[in-house]
Structures are given as C-alpha cells and as structure tokens.
C-alpha cells in the first residue's frame, strides 16, 4: 500500500505543476496588456508601469515563471493590488471559514444522505421510498445559489429562526451548511439506496436474519457497513461539488471564505488574489482526491493496490 501511496503522490506532482502553470499563465494570456487591464482604463502611465514591474511582467517569460515558482515554494504569493496587503495574509484569514463551511456541508450531506438512503432501501417502492427519491431528484436539479436563497427566504425572512448572514455563532453555519450539502446529500441518498438494496439481498444478510437477529441490527451492523463502501467513493467524487458549492454558497450568505475572495478578486481585477484563490481551491481539490484514494485501502480490505 505504501508503494501505491508513493506512486499516487508522484502522479500528483505533474498535476500540481500544471495547475501552478495555469495560474501563472492566467495573467499573461489575458487579451491586451494585463498591466493596463489591472490598472483600469483611466490609470496613469506611471501606475501601469508600476503594476507591470510589481508583477514582473517586464521580464522574460521563462524568468517570470521561475521567479513565480520559487516564490510559490516560499509561500510568497505577492501583494493584493486592492488592499496592498500580502496575499497570503488574506488567504489565511479566509481559509478556515471555507474549511468550516465545507466540512459542515459534508456532515449534512453524509448524515442526511445516508439516513434517507437507508430509509428508502428498507421499504423499496413504498410511498416513503418514492417521496425520498423525488426529493433527492429535486435536490440534484436545484442550483446551489437558489436553494441558499430559498432557505434564507423561509428560515430567515419568513420564520425568523436562523440568521441569514454572519459567521459568529453555530446558528450562522446552519443555512450555509445545508445549502452546500444538499446536492451531495441527494447523490449520497441515491447511492446508499441502490447499494443497500444490493447488500440486503445477499446471502450473509439472510443468514443474519435466520439467526434471529433483530432487523435494526441486521440493517445497521451487517448491511450498512458493506453498503457504505461505494458511498465513500461517491463522497470522494463529490469533493468538487462540495468545493464548488462552497464557492457559490459563500456569495449567497456573504460568507468570508476563499470563494468570495475569488469572486471579489475577479470583479476588482485583483489578479494576485485571483491567482492565489484559484491555486488554493485547485490544490485542495487535488489533495483531497488523493487522500480519499488512500482512504479506500483503509476502509475496504478487499482493495489491493499494485
């Protein structure tokens, strides 16, 4: 397994390099003069020159890339054009918020998804099953940003139960977390259902029932354990959905995370910020995928890596 992890890590290196290159190229392939675009049309010549120098755009491309990579390794991501503060400072202020939101979204997705899937699978083709699957289908088709707005409308504006914006308390996290987790919950529910249905038909479940075990024990202790393996795969595949969901959800709830930083950066043409935010999200995505691949081995002893 260690050999597999090492191989998987090595395969990740070119991808990370590629991501860094894309981020580097971003500013350089903007049509027109990037320094002028960043500075805005009304900027003075000196200001444009200053930005060009600041970003190193006046040096040869190869040198620029080497400098970029070297400062990246040192963790130096440049300075924000807007706030003049080091980009890394802004990033560190925002990263915990996005991590908190994504993890909370994941908790919602897994707990709601698995429960709904099990409930559906215990009584397949019943009214409950149909209702759960219909809700799951709707959940899948709902745009994240709209479900966020609907939650605000119902629970913050109409009922006044939960706050719509802010990050101070746990209550502030509830609506954004549901928003992030909803689509993934729907996918997990569908997957859990089909996986449970298959497991519940297997011989060892019949044996467990024949032994006289109570049905809840059969379902939770025997069936669910094995049914969850494909679910973990889905959770891994959904990392992207969760992260993208977080990016969009942050805009709905004015949640001060990386996603919002990215959007604000683009609208203000603050390219160092945009570069850094893109880099962080893409890296997180690549590394989480790697972690999940490795995790399979720990969960399912039947999986052997070569």
């Amino acid at each position: 397994m260690w050999a597999y992890i090492a191989k998987r890590l090595l395969l990740t290196v070119p991808v990370i390099f590629g991501v860094a290159f894309v981020v580097f190229a971003m500013v350089r392939i903007v049509p027109g003069d990037p320094a002028q675009i960043i500075a805005g049309e009304t900027a003075t010549k000196e200001f444009v020159e200053a930005i060009r120098k600041d970003l190193g755009l006046d040096r040869p491309l190869m040198e620029q890339f080497v400098t970029f990579m070297a400062s990246l390794v040192r963790g130096d991501l440049g300075r924000s054009i807007r706030s003049k503060a080091p980009v890394s400072e802004e990033l560190w202020a925002r990263i915990p918020n996005t991590v908190r939101l994504t993890i909370a979204g994941l908790v919602v997705a897994v707990s709601v998804g698995v429960t709904a899937g099990v409930v559906s699978a215990i009584r397949p083709y019943s009214v409950v099953d149909s209702a759960v699957m219909l809700v799951a289908l709707l959940g899948l088709s709902m745009p994240v940003f709209w479900s966020g707005l609907m939650l605000i409308l119902i629970f913050a504006v109409r009922l006044g139960w939960l706050p719509a914006v802010g990050t101070e308390t746990l209550a502030h996290l509830v609506l954004p977390a549901i928003t992030v987790g909803m689509a993934t919950a729907a996918i997990i529910a569908r997957m859990t259902r089909s996986s449970m249905l298959e497991v519940l038909r297997s011989d060892y479940i019949r044996t467990a029932r024949a032994k006289g075990l109570a049905e809840p024990v059969v379902v939770t202790r025997h069936a669910l354990r094995n049914a969850l393996i494909p679910v973990i795969t889905v959770v891994g595949l959904q990392t992207g959905t969760l992260l993208s969901g977080a990016v969009l959800t942050e805009s709905v709830f004015a949640w001060p995370g990386i996603g919002r930083l990215l959007v604000e950066g683009i609208l203000a043409r603050d390219y160092p910020i945009v570069q850094a935010a893109v880099l962080v999200v893409a890296l997180a995505f690549v590394l989480v995928n790697l972690a999940i691949d490795v995790l399979y081995a720990a969960v399912d002893p039947r999986i052997h890596y070569e």
Partner: protein, 296 residues
C-alpha cells in the same frame, strides 16, 4: 426442414422498420420519468423559440410604479424591482438558456470528440500529452475552471458560453477516448483496416458512429450542467450583465429585495430547476433506452 429455421430467424432479425432508433423509442416510451422530462423540455423549447409571441410584455419594459408588485392577474408571476414583468423575463430567459446550452455543448463536442477520438485511436505521445492536459483541467472543480476562464476572457455572456463550453471539453475527450480504445480492438475495425481504409476513414465511418449513443446521452446531461454553470456565473456577477433577462443574473439582482419580494427570487430559480430536472430525466431515459447496460 433443417434449413428452414435459420431462414425464419434471419427474417425476424432483418424485419424492416425495426431500426435501432425505433427500438430505443419503444423503450423510451415506457419510461414515465423520461416522458415527464421530455414534456418539461418541450415547454422550455417552446418558450425559447416562441418567446416574442408567448411573453405578455416586453421583458425590458420598465414600469416604476409596478416595482416589486406581487403576482396578480395582469402579471402572473409579479414584477421585478423596475416593474418589469417577471413571466416575460423568464420566457426570454429560456431562449437565452437554450442558446447558452447549445453553444456550450457544441464547443464541448466540437473539440472534445475529435481530441478524444484521435487520442484514443493514435495513442503514443499524443495520447499521453492530451491525457495529462485533461488531468490538469480536471484538477479544477468545473465551476472554478469556468471562473478562471472568465477571469481570463473577461466578464460577459459570450465569454461565459465559451468558458462553459471549454470546461466540458475534457469530459467529452475522456468519454470518447475510452469508447475508441475499446472499439479499436474490435474485429470490424480490423476488417476495415485489412480492406485498406485510412485511419481517418476508419475513425469517421466505423468508430465514431458507434460512440454516438454516449455522446447523445452526455450532451443531454451536459446542456443541463452548462445552463446551471452559466446561471451560477450570472448569479456571481461574472456572466450576463443587467438588464439582460438571464435567469442567474435575475436572481443576483432579486436577492437584494428578498425581504420585499419573494416572487422575484423564487420563480427564476424554479425555471432553472425545472429545466435542469427536465434534461436530467431525459438524459437518464435516453441512456436507458439506448443502452440498458449503462444504467446505474
């Protein structure tokens, strides 16, 4: 009568009119969810194509006195903050979404299919290079890549269509490559090669037609995700700009008035959801009809 049986069998198999399309349609017709999806999409298509006839008002006509008015007899879905008729704007939004979906998918198919087909058929360093590039593109969650592209191309509706189209290229390339890899090893391809067909002819006449089913299924699902991504970008303020009647941009505008006008945040989102639902149901049903083995 030993020879009679195979003759009868051959006749049954070759019965005219029982084409693959008809068989797929017969299968599709039995799928209730698929038919619901089709019905939703016909409504969406109708709204998109006949927007000027169907819309009761001009979607850009401002009526300041009617600002944020709730649904009424005159305005079935209410009015937005500038008093524009929400129903008319949603109908025109369908037209825009249709265009976005078609253009984005055309870009995805137009580039992704040839890239994937050549990559799978030729193999070697070209395949290796393309696969690594795809790895890098897939290292970004879909919407993030679209955001990156918008950051490069600039904010606007056309840029969003291009960005969303580019994002779908790796999906098509991977899909078609996989298909081509398995088709390449089959006997009919060997036969064509033995007959002296060129690589281009084999790909175009023999291999690609066999990948059509997966391309159709993928495209149906991809239109849904293109519409969703474009709406998301519109919502973030990176796509269509006001006053364009685009669903995402409409939501972005309406959210400031969420406390005053529930209708202006509810209906545009519902339109997006129904359209995406329609495409998803239809895509699943087409997949089941064309190839039951692909059912998940």
């Amino acid at each position: 009568m030993v020879t009679a049986t195979p003759a009868v069998r051959a006749e049954t198999i070759l019965r005219p009119g029982r084409t693959r399309f008809r068989m797929a349609w017969a299968q599709f017709r039995r799928n209730r969810a698929g038919l619901i999806g089709l019905a939703i999409l016909m409504a969406f298509l109708g709204a998109g194509l006949f927007a000027p006839v169907l819309a009761p008002y001009d979607p850009y006509e401002i009526d300041l006195e009617g600002g944020l008015k709730k649904p009424s007899r005159a305005h079935w879905l209410g009015q937005d903050e500038l008093g524009r008729d929400l129903l008319s704007r949603i109908i025109y939004g369908a037209r825009l979404s249709l265009v976005i979906g078609i253009i984005a998918v055309s870009i995805g198919v137009g580039f992704g299919v040839p890239i994937g087909a050549i990559s799978g058929y030729v193999g070697g360093w070209w395949d290796l290079l393309v696969q690594r590039l795809i790895d890098i593109m897939l290292a970004f969650p879909g919407i993030l890549l679209a955001i990156v592209l918008v950051a490069i191309l600039g904010v606007g509706l056309v840029q969003v269509m291009v960005a969303v189209g580019i994002v779908s290229i790796p999906t098509y390339a991977r899909l078609v490559r996989g298909q081509v890899l398995s088709l390449r090893a089959q006997e009919f391809v060997d036969a064509a090669r033995a007959l002296g067909a060129t690589a281009g002819r084999i790909l175009w006449r023999h291999v690609l037609p066999n990948t059509l089913a997966v391309i159709i299924v993928q495209s149906t699902l991809q239109i849904a995700s293109a519409i969703l991504s474009a709406a998301a970008l519109g919502f973030l303020g990176l796509g269509a700009q006001p006053p364009t009647a685009e669903w995402g941009a409409m939501l972005s505008n309406a959210r400031q008035y969420i406390r005053l006008a529930w209708h202006s945040v509810t209906f545009p989102g519902m339109a997006i959801m129904l359209t995406v639902l329609g495409f998803n149901l239809l895509g699943d049903a087409i997949r089941d009809a064309l190839d039951p083995k692909m059912r998940i």
